[in-house]
């Protein structure tokens, strides 16, 4: 496809830092890009074309993991960190005094190609600070990936940001070159955005999101008619929300996410625990570090929405706006709806199996396949991959529970949360042992002062 952008143009905006060595530029612009969460290379299955370089695997491939445990799948860099905006939470805001740098399109292409052929990365994730104006920035991004696709014949994964406020034509051009596009929602509500990102407006963010959604839809219709029609954002679009910078509740965030999945056809919503890098007075101080557990619970709930058939209002409501710290959202839902349990593994429909804590999508499928040929018992479930230590309170096999369990909310919550009081398992998950007089799990508890006194006076 010719999008009318010539790759070999001299780039006039770069004169100032042309002398900066590549090592320093990579350093500055990686550092500037690292707070962006999305680093997935999934959603596109594309064979190599036998000529250029690269292919795509639907599941995505993570090539390394950094010291914070997050995957390194794509070369995640900014085109430039010379931003004209002044968002309070952002490290690259114009009022912050940090070293600035800008890549030339050729530098980005060479880096991507050389990293890719050494199997370091799965592709490129290109984002950018706003240089001059949104449309100009988007044009630069577009020029870079055009070069990468057409001059360097790169056939791997490309994820680019759609810059809010850029002209729709440029966004469309980028869409035909990239595999995934994303527009960051940044904050769940318009008020939060107004407070912390004065240059961004919710309307500006949602416009390109809607445009990409319509583009994908139209492209799918085209592809039905013409098999070789150019493909538009095949990997779908994603977005990101910062968690913990503004006072929104989990209920609010998960509702926004559900709305985005349903109304905007998003592939993924990412949640980013807020890290205070700027120390602005409008931002909360986080003495305990970023809200990682909250982020984790949101991701768990996100999976429940997308793959397990849950709805946001089932998980939380106005009266209980935050997720339980001790239980994961699925356990939490299950103990509040004990009326629907226990579930008979050999007969229950798959959508009910999916609601059992400890049963994932794969194990539910395997259960359904396996119970066609034989009656399943608890040992078989273990083989299939069900996490029995969570599931046993909610399931029966052939009408029996594994152990006698009281179907009572308090009891089950205690069992699920208290490590020590859990029914003990051997390393293989199944163990039977002789009952003994000292089997009381309270036996290892240290003796309290009162008990010592009572023992001394002969009461115990």
């Amino acid at each position: 496809m010719d999008c009318g952008i010539q790759g070999g143009d001299k780039v006039e905006y770069l004169v100032a830092d042309a002398a900066l060595p590549l090592t320093d530029k990579l350093n500055i612009l990686t550092d500037a890009a690292k707070y962006d969460v999305a680093c997935t290379s999934s959603g596109v299955e594309r064979k190599g074309n036998g000529q250029g370089i690269g292919n795509c695997v639907a599941a995505g491939i993570c090539h390394s993991f950094s010291g914070d445990g997050r995957c390194i799948s794509l070369l995640k860099i900014l085109l430039t960190n010379e931003c004209i905006y002044d968002c309070k939470y952002c490290r690259n805001r114009c009022s912050n005094d940090i070293p600035r740098a800008t890549f030339t399109p050729e530098e980005i292409c060479t880096l991507t190609m050389e990293f890719y052929r050494r199997n370091y990365i799965e592709g490129l994730f290109l984002s950018s600070g706003i240089i001059r104006n949104p449309t100009f920035t988007m044009e630069l991004i577009c020029r870079t990936i055009w070069l990468l696709r057409n001059q360097y014949h790169f056939n791997g994964y490309i994820h680019v940001k759609a810059i809010p406020g850029a002209a729709p034509e440029v966004i469309e051009q980028a869409g035909y070159l990239a595999d995934r596009m994303s527009v960051n929602l940044e904050l769940p509500t318009a008020e939060g955005l107004r407070l912390l990102a004065p240059n961004k407006h919710r309307k500006n963010i949602l416009t390109p999101m809607r445009q990409i959604q319509n583009g994908i839809q139209a492209n799918q219709n085209d592809l039905v008619l013409y098999r070789n029609a150019p493909r538009f954002v095949t990997g779908g679009q994603s977005t990101q929300m910062i968690v913990g910078a503004t006072p929104e509740s989990d209920y609010h965030i998960i509702n926004v996410a559900e709305g985005l999945y349903q109304k905007f056809g998003l592939k993924r919503v990412f949640y980013s625990a807020f890290v205070n890098v700027t120390g602005d007075k409008n931002l909360p101080a986080l003495p305990g570090g970023p809200p990682l557990l909250r982020e984790h619970r949101l991701y768990q709930a996100d999976w429940l929405l997308r793959f397990y058939g849950f709805r946001a209002e089932e998980l939380l409501d106005e009266k209980r706006p935050y997720f339980n710290v001790m239980l994961d959202p699925k356990e939490d839902w299950a103990v509040r709806h004990l009326g629907q349990f226990p579930v008979e593994i050999n007969r229950a429909p798959v959508n009910m199996l999916l609601r059992v804590p400890g049963v994932g999508v794969k194990s539910a499928q395997r259960i359904v396949a396996a119970r066609r040929s034989s009656k399943l018992n608890f040992n078989d479930l273990k083989k299939i991959g069900v996490v029995l230590k969570r599931a046993i309170y909610f399931i029966t096999c052939n009408g029996r529970m594994m152990y006698p369990v009281k179907l009572e909310e308090d009891y089950i919550v205690r069992q699920l949360t208290d490590e020590k009081e859990r029914i003990k398992f051997g390393s293989d998950g199944m163990s039977y042992r002789q009952l003994s007089l000292f089997d009381d799990s309270a036996f290892e508890r240290p003796v309290s002062k009162v008990e010592k006194l009572r023992a001394a006076v002969g009461e115990i």
Binding site: I61, R118, S373
Partner: protein, 250 residues
Amino acid sequence: MIVYRCETSMESIFTAVYRAYEEKRVHEETIISLTEEPLLFAEDIWVEPDERKVCKVINTLNRRFGQDNYLTLCMALASEDADSAQAVYRTIVQGLAGNVSKGHLFDNLADDYVHRAFALARTVNTEIGHQKQFLRFGELENGVLYSRIGPKNDVVVFLMPHFADRLPMENFMIYDDVHNLFGIHPAGRPWYLLRGGETELPIHLSEEEIRYQELFRQFCHTITIEERKNTKLQRNMLPLRFRKYMVEFS
């Protein structure tokens, strides 16, 4: 009790499977063994690979169970465990007897042998996935991309199609130092495997290579968010045994 003694190769095992059917054995009393461990009151039969029989077995497996399940069986056989042959043999028997339809060979996970073959194939598949993630190429002075890996199972044969599709115009070579096996891909031509050969090749990396290794190391270091540091999670996702082959950890 009949014991077919095979060498550790797919050809040998498939020949044994064919012979078990050809000689009308009772499957419950037949074992395909990869070791030489003697069994009491058992009759040993040593199996020589036979190309014609192997082809027939492969055709039947593909026709009856479909290509995906056949590939899963191959993965189970690539495992280093000594009971892989027996598990695969009995899985095939179970599938042929039970008349399972295409793609449903591994449905009956309650069966011990099916589960064992499934688990072995899953282990090998995970290893293949890991190698696709963590394998690193280094450019030699003559422009050839060279990679050295140390997989637990024999997975090079499963890696080659992936990288040949990805880098069709590159000369590259993957060396498995545990099984002493080379996977070689000449630019623009089909790949092939080479067992044995010279193991202590002198490796001269190009100057560009050292520069890009340094750039990538720096990239991995910079992208870490200090506030979220979690080396335990990193170790879960990227086990230590892979790290000695990876540029960013050396």
